[in-house]
């Protein structure tokens, strides 16, 4: 223990990542000498415009899109809002929205709001115990007045990567638009949005070692989206407001690096995640949430249920011992509600409460895995010694997924 004390293992890269030095270096001039507004007509303005145009081209290339199809935003939350609200204003007669039950809060809360306000009827698709959307439930949910289908590409909690080709083809067949939140997948798995049957897609920079406060919305050519707040006609008139020039520059750089190093780094990250998952599954009374590591799962994502104890207490112990993670427990949220993702895949509230998410990045190494295993083991032991409550009920899905985990290991 002594040699690994006083160090931090940051295993919460699904929440945010550390900016790479090369990205920072690229941004710095745009925080000082290059301060022009891209809308200005003098040289400083023209330089800034050229810089963001170049970044737009790089980013477009990175996702297999055309530069004119990229709108810069403040992040994936704004992109999701722009996609959904932009279409709502464009097609006010279409009053039906379809989403998965495991969306990011931004999409989930727009759906709740539209439903509450009586603007739209919302259908939530079915997912199986690993979080994959049931294509049949999509096929039968689409109606004549369906505005949009929105399905998150890589789930932020359990790492499930949806088959957008299959889901998109159903949407195409039925003539309905598909939006996907790709915040977690971009930079981690190969993504050619131009070739996918997807019409709108949301991205951000800070999950891939870029800066916070910048993202993008891909809008396929010929898809019309109306701006939902007013200002000057930046970003093809769809997203008013002076562009975040340093952020955009950093975003493009981070994307370039992520794609350049993807094969090597993501393979390594997933090997680390595999060892972490194997080690954690050796602890008694645990469950594995989401698909097996390496099988349509976000690289580096491990989500485990530790039964009979509370996720927030695990998180806090790990925090004190220098391992930073996140939890789907209600006590780690301000609403005291457990993760809607974990309950959607069939976990009982008790099991959702005991869940911990570890998300690794290219900046993690074997030492982080060993530290996480050691302190998680200690913590679980300590907290279980304190509990007098061993409930009789368990989530069937936790057991099923644990079986899949072991089966996969023996493949």
């Amino acid at each position: 223990m002594s040699n690994i004390e006083n160090k931090v293992s940051y295993l919460d890269n699904g929440d945010s990542t550390r900016m790479l030095p090369e990205v920072l270096e690229e941004i710095l001039p745009y925080l000082s000498e290059h301060y022009g507004n891209p809308a200005s007509l003098h040289q400083f303005g023209l330089d800034a415009e050229e810089a963001i145009d170049s970044a737009r081209s790089k980013l477009a290339e990175a996702i297999g899109a055309k530069p004119a199809e990229i709108i810069f935003t403040s992040g994936a939350t704004e992109s999701n809002n722009l996609a959904l609200n932009g279409l709502r204003y464009q097609f006010p007669d279409k009053r039906h929205l379809i989403i998965s039950p495991i969306e990011h809060a931004s999409v989930d809360n727009i759906a709740k709001r539209w439903s509450r306000e009586g603007w739209a009827e919302v259908t939530k698709l079915k997912v199986n115990s690993e979080g994959f959307v049931d294509p049949d439930s999509l096929r039968s949910a689409i109606r004549d007045d369906t505005l949009l289908v929105s399905v998150i590409h890589g789930n932020m909690e359990i790492g499930t990567i949806q088959n957008l080709t299959e889901l998109g083809e159903i949407c195409r067949e039925k003539g309905v638009l598909l939006h996907s939140d790709c915040a977690q997948t971009f930079g981690k798995i190969p993504l050619n949005i131009g070739e996918l049957p997807v019409d709108l897609a949301s991205f951000n920079a800070h999950k891939m070692h870029g800066p916070k406060g910048v993202g993008a919305l891909y809008i396929r050519k010929k898809v019309k989206v109306r701006r939902y707040f007013e200002g000057s006609p930046q970003e093809h008139g769809v997203r008013p407001g002076t562009e975040n020039v340093p952020g955009i520059i950093g975003f493009a750089k981070a994307a370039e690096i992520a794609i350049r190093d993807m094969d090597k780094e993501m393979k390594r990250v997933d090997e680390l995640a595999g060892r972490l998952a194997d080690g954690l599954m050796e602890i008694e009374h645990v469950g594995f949430n989401g698909p097996p590591v390496g099988k349509n799962r976000l690289p580096g994502n491990v989500n485990i249920t530790f039964r009979y104890i509370e996720g927030e207490a695990i998180l806090m112990h790990l925090n004190i011992k220098g391992v930073y993670v996140s939890s789907g427990s209600a006590c780690s949220s301000t609403t005291l509600e457990p993760s809607h993702v974990l309950t959607a895949i069939g976990l009982l509230h008790e099991d959702a409460h005991g869940s911990i998410r570890y998300t690794l990045s290219r900046l993690n190494d074997e030492e982080d895995v060993q530290r996480a295993l050691q302190v998680t083991n200690e913590t679980v032991k300590q907290l279980r010694a304190m509990t007098a409550f061993i409930p009789e009920k368990h989530s069937k899905h936790v057991d099923e997924n644990a079986q899949t985990f072991y089966k996969h290991k023996n493949d």
Binding site: A313, C331, T387, F389
Partner: protein, 127 residues
């Protein structure tokens, strides 16, 4: 907000954890409402209306573990009557403050102490 030093001490090295043998009373309290599943079990031993020992076990978040530790530490040596008047604010003070989202923890721990003391008094009244 950040957690206070006392909160973190009570959470990471909680006092009075366990189950007493031959207690005067054994009670359970659980958080009702919301999705929170925090539960505390307490056992208590008193002598001439003074609390000699009070222990707890919990399936709970950091706040409830810290609050149960601070509440039981506060209760030892107090009279059963005093324990009946324990308020969440006293535990909050013992912990050097708690974030708003942990107010349910201090409420639950206070309820546990009051219920334990009340049960002893009821039992002794029945004797």
């Amino acid at each position: 907000m950040s957690y206070s030093k006392k909160y973190l001490e009570h959470f990471s090295s909680p006092q009075n954890v366990g189950i007493l043998d031959n207690p005067d009373a054994e009670i359970e309290v659980a958080h009702e409402g919301g999705g929170c599943f925090d539960r505390i079990k307490m056992t208590i031993i008193s002598e001439e209306d003074i609390i000699k020992s009070i222990n707890f076990k919990a399936r709970a978040c950091s706040g409830t573990i810290a609050a149960a530790s601070a509440a039981t530490a506060w209760a030892v040596g107090k009279s059963l009557e005093e324990a009946l008047s324990l308020t969440p604010a006293i535990i909050e003070q013992e912990l050097g403050g708690v974030p708003e989202k942990k107010l349910h923890s201090v409420e639950l721990a206070a309820e546990g102490i009051r219920k334990a003391a009340g049960e002893v008094l009821t039992n002794s009244g029945n004797k």
